[in-house]
C-alpha cells in the first residue's frame, strides 16, 4: 500500500512539472499585460535586453470614438528556434494594468485577424523588417502613452524589449466629418467557403468606396451600397482556405473625404460547436465499454474452460472409481452371448442382478 501511495505521489508531482514550463513556442495571441503572467521574458532576473529596433507610429489623426491605426516597425530580431516573436501594444511600463483598455482605448483588430493587444509573428530572418499594425479606438480625450514591447528567445535566453513612448491625444470629431458610427465594430472573422456581406454604419456619409485586398495582394475597389440612411454594405468573396482580407472605407460627405484604417477579417475553418461534457462522457463510455467487452469475453471463455476442466476431472474420477470397483465374476458358462469382456467389466454386475 505504501509503495502505491509513493508511486501515486511521484506521478502527481511529475504531472505538475509540465504546467510550470517555459513557452518557447509562444502562448498564442491574446490580451496580455507586459509581464505576460510572470513569463521568463518579463522576469528581470532571467531576461536579457532584446537587440530589436522598435518603432511605433500613428497613421492619422485620432478622433474620439473613431478607429485609427497604429503601425509598429520591428527589425534586427533574433529569432528563437521556434521562430516566434511576441509583440505587445501597451499603455504602461509598470507591467500591470497596461492594456489599451485600461487607458480607455479599445483594440478593434490586430495583424493576425483577431482583436488582441498581444500577437505572435512567425519568421526566420535576422535582418528583415516587420511591419504590423493595430486598429484601435479612443474612448477618452486624455493623452495616452503607447509602447511596443517585444518578447522573443534565442539560445535558451528569454529576450525582452520595449520601445519609446508614442503619445496619442484623441480629438473631438469636427462637424460634418464623414465617419463611422461610434458604436460600429466590423466583423473580424468569417467561415471558409462563405460569401460575406459586410455592413458599415456611418454618420454624415453620402457615398462610400471600399478598397479591399488579400494581405500584400492587389487592391480591389468596389462601391458600397446604401441600404438606408447611414447603413452601407458590400460583398467579400468566399475564401477557399484560411486567409486574411484587409479592407477600408473611403467616405465622402459634406466634410473632407475620410479614409478609415485598414480592418482585417480572417477566414477560418468553421468553429466546432460541440458539448464538451458529452465528448468527455463518450470518451469514458468508450473506454469502459472496451474494458467491459474484453473482460466479459475472457470471463466467459474462462468459465467454459473451467467447466470443461471440471467435467474432465469428474469423468476421470468416475473412471477411476469404476476401475477400483471389483469386476463381477464371470458365469460358469462363460460370458453371455454377444458380450465382450470390456462390456462385462462395466455392466456385469447389472447382468447378474437382473438374472437373480
Amino acid at each position: 500500500m505504501n509503495r502505491i501511495t509513493m508511486l501515486c505521489s511521484v506521478v502527481i508531482l511529475l504531472g505538475f512539472t509540465s504546467l510550470g514550463g517555459a513557452n518557447p513556442g509562444g502562448v498564442g495571441d491574446g490580451n496580455f499585460d507586459m509581464q505576460c503572467g510572470g513569463a521568463c521574458h518579463g522576469d528581470a532576473s532571467q531576461n536579457q535586453t532584446s537587440p530589436a529596433l522598435l518603432e511605433l507610429t500613428l497613421d492619422s489623426t485620432a478622433y474620439l470614438d473613431l478607429p485609427v491605426s497604429v503601425t509598429a516597425k520591428v527589425s534586427g530580431i533574433q529569432f528563437s528556434s521556434s521562430d516566434k516573436v511576441g509583440l505587445f501594444l501597451i499603455t504602461d511600463t509598470t507591467g500591470h494594468s497596461d492594456l489599451p483598455e485600461d487607458a480607455g482605448w479599445r483594440v478593434i483588430s490586430d495583424q493576425n485577424g483577431g482583436a488582441n493587444n498581444y500577437i505572435e509573428l512567425a519568421g526566420s530572418s535576422l535582418s528583415s523588417e516587420y511591419v504590423v499594425s493595430w486598429t484601435i479606438k479612443p474612448e477618452t480625450l486624455q493623452p495616452t502613452n503607447f509602447y511596443l514591447s517585444i518578447h522573443h528567445g534565442s539560445e535558451n535566453t528569454p529576450y525582452f524589449g520595449i520601445s519609446n513612448s508614442l503619445v496619442i491625444s484623441a480629438e473631438n470629431v469636427p462637424e460634418n466629418l464623414p465617419r463611422l458610427a461610434s458604436d460600429y465594430s466590423p466583423d473580424i472573422t468569417r467561415d471558409i467557403g462563405e460569401n460575406t456581406t459586410m455592413l458599415v454604419e456611418t454618420i454624415d456619409v453620402q457615398a462610400m468606396t471600399i478598397q479591399w485586398r488579400l494581405v500584400d495582394g492587389e487592391s480591389i475597389f468596389v462601391n458600397a451600397t446604401s441600404t438606408n440612411a447611414e447603413q452601407w454594405y458590400f460583398e467579400l468573396p468566399a475564401a477557399l482556405q484560411p486567409s486574411i482580407i484587409e479592407w477600408r472605407a473611403i467616405m465622402q460627405g459634406d466634410g473632407p473625404d475620410q479614409t478609415t484604417p485598414w480592418f482585417r477579417i480572417a477566414a477560418q475553418e468553421p468553429a466546432l460547436v460541440v458539448d464538451q461534457l458529452q465528448v468527455y462522457l463518450q470518451s469514458m463510455a468508450l473506454g469502459l465499454f472496451f474494458i467491459g467487452m474484453v473482460l466479459t469475453l475472457h470471463n466467459r471463455f474462462s468459465t467454459a474452460r473451467h467447466s470443461q476442466q471440471l467435467t474432465v476431472s469428474d469423468r476421470s474420477d468416475s473412471i477411476d472409481e469404476r476401475e477400483d470397483r471389483e469386476v463381477a465374476p464371470i458365469p460358469d458358462g462363460g460370458l453371455p452371448p454377444g458380450w465382450t469382456l470390456e462390456q462385462w467389466k462395466w455392466y456385469g454386475h447389472e447382468y447378474l442382478e437382473d438374472s437373480k
Partner: protein, 192 residues
Amino acid sequence: MISSATFHVITTELVVGSFAIAGICFLIKALQIFNFFNTATISQVTDNTGHFALGFGLIATPFAIMSGIASSPGSDVSSPLLVNKMFLSMAGAGLALSVLYARYAIGQQVWASKQSSLTQATAGLGASGMMLMTASLGGKFTRNESLFDIFNLPFDIILLMPMWATVVVLLTGLAATTLAVMGLRNRSAIQH
C-alpha cells in the same frame, strides 16, 4: 526546465514506441494461434514483452495527455481531430487496461484456449493500433500531415452519440466490467 511542448514530444515518443513494440508482440501472438512462429521461446518472449510494453505505454499515456493539454494553444476541444483523438485514446487505454487485467487475473492460462488467445491478441492489437492512430492525429493537428494520410481516414467526421446513448453505453460498460472483474476474481480465488 523544459517546455511542456518538449515534454509532450518525449512522452508521446515513449507511448508510441511502447505501443508499437506491444503491437508487434500481439501480432506474433495472433499468428501463433494459426501455428505461425509457434515455439515455446517466442511464445514466452512475446507474452512478457507485449504485456510489459503495453503497461509501460499506459503509464506514459497520462503524462502525454497532460503535457499535450498544457502545450496546446487553447483548452477547449476545438477541432474534430481533437475529439477523435480523445475517443481513440480512451478506447485504446480501455483495451490496454483490459488486456493487462486479464493477463494478471488469468495468468498464462489466458493463452490456453483459441478463443481466449484470439480475444487477448485482438484486444492488444486494437489498443496498439488506436494509440498509434491517436499519435498520428497529433501530427495531423500540428503539422497537417501524418503517415496515416495514405489510408485517407475520415478524421474530420465525429461520431457523437446522443447523451442518452452515451449514458447507456457508460452504464453497460461499468456493469459489464464490474461483473467480469468479480467473475475473474472469484475464479482466481477458487483456483488458488
